[in-house]
Subunit: 150 residues, 2 copies
DNA sequence: AGCACTTGCATAGCGCGCTATGCAAGTTCA
DNA sequence: TGAACTTGCATAGCGCGCTATGCAAGTGCT
């Protein structure tokens, strides 16, 4: 089904891709402002979300669960190591692999960083009630799943 | 209202910011694949959407309507000039300003690029019916508006 | 054992966001 | 008119996505 637009501005106001990009930029920026005082960047926060669940993971395991490319993860981990958030230890089993371990500094950040992220979500979703929020998240998950297939 | 999560994975599956970022990345990547054959990048496409409506605009006018920073626009326009999509002419009225004009090459791309964007949207929204799509776009607009205020 | 294949990671190079900075040109106002 | 301010744009430098490439280490097969 082909939707016809009266003009380009119609497209911008209705294109899911355009809106998604704009929305993600605002989320990114808002989170960045909130966690910058912790010495944290948004991409690092995403990795920490995974590592707070349990560290001592290889880069490959992190790539699998975050759905980013291996090269992206390698660079993000390098910045996190530089910033004292993680250490990369040699694996005893596999000399190619490097085990990612959280520093105490990174562990201590958890509550503050989570609170910052929650605050940003709260601002973004201010005009949606609980039912709408659930529906919104569900729709995003469905859109993500559709693009991962197609 | 503070939502409590059982674990980090709950957060990832429910955080609007996390989902928005993931969704936008998939949109970006999908569009990139589709318009790459035209010699076009996603950021350039966004600018073209505006210029197809009417060119002979200054950089400042483009910045205002696309909601990106001036420096971002300057760099994107430089790449577009390099790629033969636009020319930057001196303004007769204001010697600081540069008027952005589309090349014929950029004008000719319009239909193909729009079709590519539509196709990407269609894949993404495949599992949503017309009513859900309208609701989804409406929710994104509300979330964007909320973050622009807060 | 030795060859091919796969896997884990690093690096180069680019797009496209951002902040910070600087300069030239325009504007305002005493 | 001249000084102070504002505006339009460029540039440097960084985060974080991507593709492409390469290498060392592991695996499998004959």
């Amino acid at each position: 089904m082909q939707v016809l637009y009266r003009c380009m501005d119609d497209f911008r106001q209705n294109s899911a891709g355009y809106l998604a990009n704009h929305m993600a930029r605002l989320f990114f920026h808002g989170l960045q402002q909130r966690i910058a005082p912790l010495g944290l960047a948004p991409g690092q926060f995403m990795v920490l979300l995974d590592l707070w669940e349990g560290d001592r993971k290889t880069q490959a395991q992190l790539v699998a669960s975050l759905d980013v490319e291996q090269a992206t993860m390698a660079n993000t981990l390098s910045r996190m190591e530089r910033d004292g958030l993680i250490e990369r230890h040699a694996s005893p089993r596999d000399k190619r692999a490097r085990i990612v371990v959280l520093t105490q500094k990174a562990r201590d950040m958890r509550d503050d960083a989570m609170a910052a992220a929650q605050a940003q979500n709260e601002v973004a979703l201010a005009s949606l009630d609980a039912q709408e929020r659930a529906l919104f998240a569900d729709m995003m998950r469905r859109v993500i799943a559709a693009m991962q297939r197609g």
